[in-house]
Symmetry: D2
Subunit: 265 residues, 4 copies
């Protein structure tokens, strides 16, 4: 029986003059923010602003690394090497960690973005080197994952000693395999669908896939995308359903968070 759950959103995904979603509002309704690191989205000024916004709202922060493909918003598969994967992880997570350290905030987790996520559902070699990079940075960093924890990345992460945190997407469909259905459209999300998905997950631990099949779903966090036109309403609906079910809303507890003092750079 779930008694507590985390709510996360991908934030800081603008670039320069471009906005992506209403971070100021969304930040009020989440407990955890996945912040873009400048490769698929985000830039240094947006990273600073989003970190400070998270801190003011008491929201914990994870790194949201992606492919170096701003033009494709990190949603196009790229055939990168293992060395690329390791180095892109250190670079992106390291840059975000610096913003967190100067703000006196601890890095909370890592969540792969877009096509990097899609590649890591299957690619064991890249999964392994990315986990190695994460462990080098901090072995207590959980990895967030929206589809089955039996996929390559979360499985290898678990084998290597990292904690894999399952996510339930409040605003996307799932295939019968439990994989996130591609998500490129910026349409308003059906709120009744969101409420139903949350209720079903809470009561039965399942989701209904895009073909109608009911599949088991393991999750310690609920994800709502920040760049849908009604992201705030989606989050309100999620919180409302959780409250009705007497589930408390709190960030996922990082293994180290009670045992160790904060790293403050």
């Amino acid at each position: 029986m779930i008694t507590e759950i985390d709510i996360n959103s991908d934030l800081g995904e603008g670039y320069g003059n471009y906005k992506a979603g209403n971070d100021e509002e969304v930040m009020k309704y989440v407990t955890t923010a996945n912040i873009a690191c400048g490769f698929h989205a985000g830039d240094p000024c947006i990273m600073r602003k989003t970190v400070e916004l998270a801190k003011r709202n008491g929201v914990v922060v994870g790194a949201h690394p992606g492919f170096p493909d701003l033009m494709g918003f990190g949603r196009r598969k790229m055939e990168i090497s293992e060395d690329d994967a390791w180095c892109y992880t250190i670079y992106q997570v390291g840059a975000l960690k610096a913003f967190l350290e100067v703000a006196g905030v601890e890095l909370h987790h890592v969540k792969p973005h877009g096509a990097l996520y899609w590649v890591l559902t299957k690619d064991e070699k890249l999964s392994k080197v990315i986990c190695e990079a994460i462990i080098k940075i901090d072995p207590d960093l959980p990895v967030y994952w929206p589809s089955p924890l039996t996929e390559a990345f979360p499985r290898i992460a678990t084998e290597m000693g990292l904690k894999a945190v399952g996510e339930l997407n409040a605003d996307t469909g799932y295939t019968p395999d439990g994989v996130v259905a591609p998500f490129r459209e910026k349409h308003a999300i059906d709120l009744e669908g969101v409420r139903k998905r949350i209720r079903q997950f809470i009561t039965e631990g399942t989701v209904t896939a895009t073909n109608g099949e009911v599949i088991k779903k393991e999750a310690q966090s609920i994800c709502a995308h920040g760049d849908t036109p009604n992201a705030v309403d989606v989050l309100k609906a999620v919180r409302d359903e959780l409250k009705s079910a007497n589930i408390s809303i709190a960030p996922f507890k990082k293994p180290s968070s009670q045992a160790k003092p904060k790293s403050t750079g």
Copy 2:
């Protein structure tokens, strides 16, 4: 009387498939490396490789941040804001620091690159915010500076409690104001000129400017650019002159280096 001096070079300035200088060879002759951080040059894979190369050679590493202008190699002035300057410093230095931390190496200093250096010779507002960013990362980080320490950046750095380390360029001219003469050509450097410059600095503490004027020069480090065609010969000539004068060659001592344990993230 100088008894010990540091030798530094800008390294890791390739990008993707492109090389810039023979880092493997140059690294053998310096005590300190300024590593590009991905804005004007460098990419995550090159940063990793250069950090590991420095470590193997016992060379200490500083961050070499620049303008976000790969096409111009960071050598074109850009009118960035104070927020830009602060955030670009955190991002670039933070990313490099992450590579250093996972390699178990401490960040040693910060040295502004190219047009960012030129802007900071005069711009007090940008100098101040960049120093603030450096202090936030580590207040013991020295800043390297090739022209008079009375210029905006080193002066403000000193006022704010940072150590400003003067540099003597072995391979560029100086204007009568002591400012580095623009350096875009990839020509072989005259070695006898290098030797003379080093001898004059050692014995008289001066350099001769491009107009023939002799000016006072304060320096605790000698810089040789890594991307000249005969960079290794320049460095050999520098070392040879220092040896003849019985000056020992060692990295500049970071204020914290003996008092504090290494920060290993």
Copy 3:
């Protein structure tokens, strides 16, 4: 007495997944579109889409080249060389021209963007080489210019045989020198202010500067920025005022447009 006027807007200024303004709606109310060329904004897919949208709406298209600075949206001055300026013009205008040619549409004009515009208000050397590049592409291309035609770029363009088309900005202030007041905020524009500005220009040929001074204004086109939150309302207000004054709304006539057949690549 003005009897006909052009209305232009900067369009196609999104990038990848990012939108900038409601181009579909704005396109219905303008006669001329300035399309970004991939340096400060725009990408190949957005260029294609915007060219096709213009064609469907019978809107003529000019190139809107800027500095290679997506992160700064081309609004930060960069110290580029004369060779850079010439080549960036050929590259950007040439790329857009290719999209126009395959769509069977003629390139109509060139309008420098953002900080490139600001630099060209004064820089005679860069103005000259950019005009040379434009003439090389098509000597009949007018250049659009929002501030006094006595400034460097339009003056040199005129001397070199190009037609300089003055613009009245419907949605920005002017300094007493007639220069466009910096414009970074994405606020809704005061519509009554827009109407007043249009009426004053129509009846008196003047604008009131930000300090209250009344200055003479020469313009054959009215510009409304496409990325203000109420850009469509601004354009409706402009059209309404022009209609009330019996001024017809039509694209500026390119010198060649009647004498020569369309270049259709």
Copy 4:
């Protein structure tokens, strides 16, 4: 029996301050240059310079478009859409065409670069849209192709009415399927191997694959990469063998080149 053949090389592949190969020398030994267009390599200034260099040497010029991945030098597969493929082709080829037009030189052909080539060996959908884009620009543009003309891109190009020009690589191996062996190392090429490959092709119309198998090879052009350390020597060896066999060296004749006047924009 071959009596005349073209020699091509990929040139203009530097970026900003970075060089890639000795274009000045290589240009003296080729009849055809494939010039990078700013996505995987090349920038506007290098494009201008390389076009002018080609013109001075009487070398005809083709466009060498690639994936938008400078960091990977266009050698990493990217999952781009059909719209992306069409638009990236128009943009890159269009930009290069503009430099050619202002130099009074006609665009000669198109040759896909690196991973784009690899993808097009099989991908029929992308092959089709890229051919459509090329035809829109100029239906007389041949496409250059180093591996079997039965592969997706040259086959579809031929079906759509474009001329596919087979190439023999002087400096890379071939797999038994006739596909170019991956080529990332910057090593000196064995000149005797080059000579043997050319002689075998001339006399027997075959190449020997990396596994020793002899395969048939159809080619109207010989390609030597410009960024190998001994590119000039490779080209000299190629020319020497051709001369010994009394084969004349001349650019491939574009279908339109005698029937139509040059398009000079």
